[in-house]
């Protein structure tokens, strides 16, 4: 398979803390890869490394055949990688439409302003924000802000989308809606790397799962395999019964009973 | 040759006072991420305090330290409530502008009353003479006092309850609030402390060099250089940075006209920041 994204022995240290340790995996084009792990396992740091917010201390990151290790964030965006943030980062005083237009203007397509506005509208419509285009971002609810993060990332027409806990803080209806949106995004040809703590959601969405613990890869494979893996159960899921339950519940994403971390 | 070493040593003595000044700046910075643009003027206020108290009340110079310290503290608390309190939670641009505007008012009032008159406080103490070089007594006393105050500040921050609470607020304001620390009160105390330190350092500098109302800018720049060298929010670093700056000044001033010293320090400031965005001894942000 020609990997869209390849991480090769990526390592990142912060002082004495080894946040990401010798991590390697690859993503196929068009797949949804779920990234799970206990809090502090290094998931968001990994996103920051891919995005270029920090450079790895060792290892390489290759995207669509191009070595993007250590490139600045705006160059990474040009390659076609977009992300949402765990703690939403709206462009506060700008409207929903303007937020998305920024994404469309400066993302992979690098569109001129008028075409970017159209792409922005389309992205906003995809997540259901088209009724609030001229509302300032600060007036949105938390769910609205999360949708804005997503719409803004999509407006850039990325090839790879990094979703960081995009379901956190949403109620069951909103979660269901968001999951449907994510599936639609993948169907439109976008590859997705998703961090999520909502077990049922991520297990049902993902084609494959990578489990991180203390910055290292603990397991990798299909959701069902990973849920059965005793190391994963011990480190993360904690409860063999829950693991069995999850196995049985494949395909039922979006139930409100979130698993405990 | 010894001349240069003597100059450097003298520079270190004065540098300790600069370090004290910078501690005032970095205390406020570390606790609440606010850059106090009245800092230079507060230093001048300390100088004026020295001048007025020795002139009007005939106080002995070093005895003005307690009133300047206490007065500075209350001025700082007032500054917090006037210009800083409402800026918490707003973009950092805003607190920069609010302290800047207070500074405009203060400098404007100061120059309206005193103009650009040069003030000098005569502090004649026996100096220390080694070989052919005399280290002015005032420099030595100022350095010692600065070091003592710095040590007291360190002890306060690390060994008293209030000090620990301050450090908690610096580290993570929300968490500190959640464990029951009255953060607003502590923020006010921090600004009070920062201004008090600025004032005291001004009082000490007043015993060393003549000054005008407008001298604040130069000393403020020095405080920024020291802070950058020593790490933001790091009082010990500030003292070390002060020593480093003093060392540099001592080494450079024999060769360079005085008006260029500030320019050199500014260039240093920018270059160091470009190379070390967190300062040279970058301690973790928000830690004291």
């Amino acid at each position: 398979m020609t990997a869209l994204l390849e991480l090769d022995r990526v390592t990142r240290r912060f002082g004495g803390l080894l946040a990401v340790n010798n991590l390697s995996f690859a993503m196929r084009e068009g797949e949804i890869l779920g990234l799970i792990g206990p809090n502090g396992a290094g998931k968001s740091t990994l996103f920051n490394l891919i995005n270029g917010v920090f450079a790895p201390n060792a290892g390489r990151i290759v995207f669509a055949g191009v070595d993007i290790t250590g490139e600045r964030p705006f160059m990474v965006a040009r390659h076609g990688i977009a992300r949402t943030h765990q703690i939403v980062q709206p462009l506060t005083n700008m409207t929903v439409l303007d937020n998305c237009t920024v994404g469309a203007c400066f993302g992979r397509e690098n569109l001129p302003l008028h075409r970017a506005t159209e792409a922005a509208r389309a992205a906003a419509a995809l997540v259901g924000l088209d009724d609030r285009l001229h509302l300032a971002a600060l007036h949105l609810t938390i769910a609205g802000k999360k949708r804005l993060e997503l719409a803004r990332a999509l407006a850039a027409q990325p090839k790879l989308l990094l979703l960081d806990e995009v379901l956190a803080g949403l109620n069951p209806t909103e979660i269901e809606h968001m999951i449907a949106v994510i599936r639609r995004i993948r169907d439109s040809g976008v590859t997705i790397l998703i961090i999520e703590h909502l077990m049922q959601a991520i297990m049902s969405l993902s084609d494959r799962i990578v489990v991180l613990n203390y910055g290292e890869k603990l397991a990798e494979g299909a959701p069902a395999e990973v849920a059965r893996d005793p190391q994963v159960i011990e480190a993360y899921l904690g409860d063999p019964k829950l693991a069995a339950e999850l196995e049985g519940n494949d395909g039922n994403g979006g139930h409100g009973s979130a698993a405990h971390d | 040759m010894f001349g240069i070493i003597a100059s450097i040593i003298d520079g270190v003595l004065v540098g300790l006072v600069y370090g004290l000044a910078a501690m005032g700046l970095t205390l406020i910075w570390g606790v609440m991420d606010v850059i106090n643009l009245t800092h230079g003027t507060m230093i001048v206020a300390g100088m004026m305090g020295l001048y007025l108290l020795t002139g009007a009340f005939g106080m002995s110079p070093y005895f003005t330290l307690p009133p300047v310290l206490i007065g500075g503290f209350f001025v700082g608390v007032a500054l917090y409530w006037i210009a800083v309190h409402r800026m918490m939670g707003r973009p950092p641009l805003m607190s920069l502008l609010s302290t800047f505007s207070v500074n405009l008012v203060l400098v404007g009032l100061g120059t309206a009353v005193w103009g650009t008159a040069l003030f000098n406080v005569d502090v004649s103490l026996p100096g220390l003479t080694i070989d052919r070089y005399t280290f002015p007594g005032a420099h030595i006393v100022a350095a010692v006092l600065a070091a003592v105050i710095a040590a007291l500040l360190y002890a306060f921050l690390h060994y008293t309850r209030l000090g620990k609470a301050l450090r908690a607020v610096a580290n993570n304001r929300e968490a500190a609030e959640l464990v029951g620390i009255p953060t607003t009160r502590l923020l006010a105390i921090a600004v009070g402390g920062g201004v008090a330190l600025a004032g005291v350092s001004g009082m000490l500098i007043g015993t060393l060099f003549p000054f005008t109302i407008l001298s604040g800018d130069g000393y403020q720049l020095k405080s920024f250089v020291v802070t950058v060298l020593g790490g933001f929010g790091n009082p010990v670093g500030a003292l070390m940075g002060g020593v480093a700056l003093g060392l540099l000044e001592g080494a450079v001033t024999p060769f360079v006209p005085v008006s260029w010293t500030l320019v050199i320090e500014f260039v240093l400031f920018v270059l160091v920041l470009i190379a070390f965005p967190g300062g040279v001894f970058a301690s973790r942000r928000g830690a004291l």
Binding site: F106 | F100, F224, V270
Partner: protein
């Protein structure tokens, strides 16, 4: 841009500046409008950094003063015509600020702001020691330079119209940037620089371009200002008062808005004129400016336009 109503509002204001003083040869009005034009020029260009990109430039006077020096020097020592000297001043200052900009724009918000003050002090120290520029005594230009403009009297009119032209360019520039892709990127940087970078905004390049762009027209204004006075010296050329006033004007009118800056400049000039006639201490000028800025920052951070837009939201579609 021509299709938008706001373009024509600006054009109308510019026309008023051109026509009004001509009525009855009103020299007093002309001088007052000339000053307003200078304030509007400085504030609009400052607004690019402050209101759009969110970077405070405390030392924007350096563009004005340096532009003044280059223009005066070319006119006096090398006998260049005014137009060429102005252009050279503008280009020279823009290029220099592009170079400096790449350095200091790596510094985040507050540090950038502080370094802009340092730049002023550095350039002033340079001017005070640079013999070809007269050192601390400055440069006087002889009245002959006004001859090609028709003599001192007509020259003042020519200079006035040039001031208006520079002001017009500033207003159109800040409007044009605001509705462009470049402006959108700058605004994104001003809202959240890290998020903007992740979204693909090329932050270093945009900031440097913005800084350099904000230097060009003030340099021209400086060249005109000091040419008109026929004299330039370091303490006048690099007096931080003017850049401070520009900041107050931006905040007063509403940072990030084009209308606000123009309104703010007009209001501030009125206030200042009133103060200067009622007290002899020019230092009170800064006290009032400081107090005004404090009140704005504490209670009306969106300035006048913010207040107006909250009362009349529909105006936001027409005005910028």
């Amino acid at each position: 841009m021509l299709r938008r109503p706001f373009f024509w509002i600006i054009a109308l204001v510019v026309a008023a500046f051109v026509v009004l003083p001509l009525i009855g040869n009103n020299v007093e009005l002309r001088e007052s409008l000339a000053l307003a034009a200078v304030y509007i020029t400085l504030a609009s260009n400052l607004n690019l950094m402050l209101g759009y990109a969110g970077y405070i430039n405390f030392g924007s006077i350096v563009f004005f003063g340096l532009g003044g020096y280059i223009c005066i020097w070319l006119v006096d020592a090398h006998h260049w015509p005014l137009a060429a000297s102005l252009l050279a001043a503008g280009i020279g200052v823009s290029v220099l600020s592009l170079i400096f900009g790449f350095g200091i724009l790596r510094l985040r918000g507050p540090f950038f702001a502080l370094s802009t003050i340092g730049i002023v002090e550095g350039v002033q120290a340079f001017a005070e020691n640079f013999k070809p520029w007269g050192g601390s005594s400055g440069i006087y230009i002889s009245p002959e330079v006004f001859a090609p403009l028709g003599g001192p009297g007509p020259a003042l009119w020519v200079i006035y119209f040039l001031f208006v032209a520079v002001m017009a360019a500033s207003l159109f520039l800040s409007y044009g940037i605001k509705i462009s892709k470049f402006g959108l990127g700058l605004l994104a940087i001003g809202q959240n620089e890290d998020a903007a970078a992740i979204l693909g905004v090329p932050t270093p390049r945009y900031k440097a371009l913005c800084y350099s762009a904000s230097a060009f027209l003030p340099a021209l204004a400086g060249g005109l200002y000091f040419f008109k006075g026929a004299f330039i010296q370091p303490t006048d050329a690099f007096d931080l008062t003017l850049s401070t006033e520009a900041i107050v004007i931006c905040m007063l009118g509403g940072q990030g808005t084009v209308t606000g800056v123009a309104l703010g400049a007009y209001l501030y000039e009125e206030l200042r004129g009133y103060l200067l006639t009622s007290s002899t201490f020019s230092n009170f000028q800064l006290v009032i400016a400081g107090a005004l800025l404090l009140v704005i920052v504490l209670f009306f951070p969106s300035g006048l336009m913010g207040f107006i837009y909250s009362r009349f939201p529909r105006l936001q579609k027409v005005l910028e």
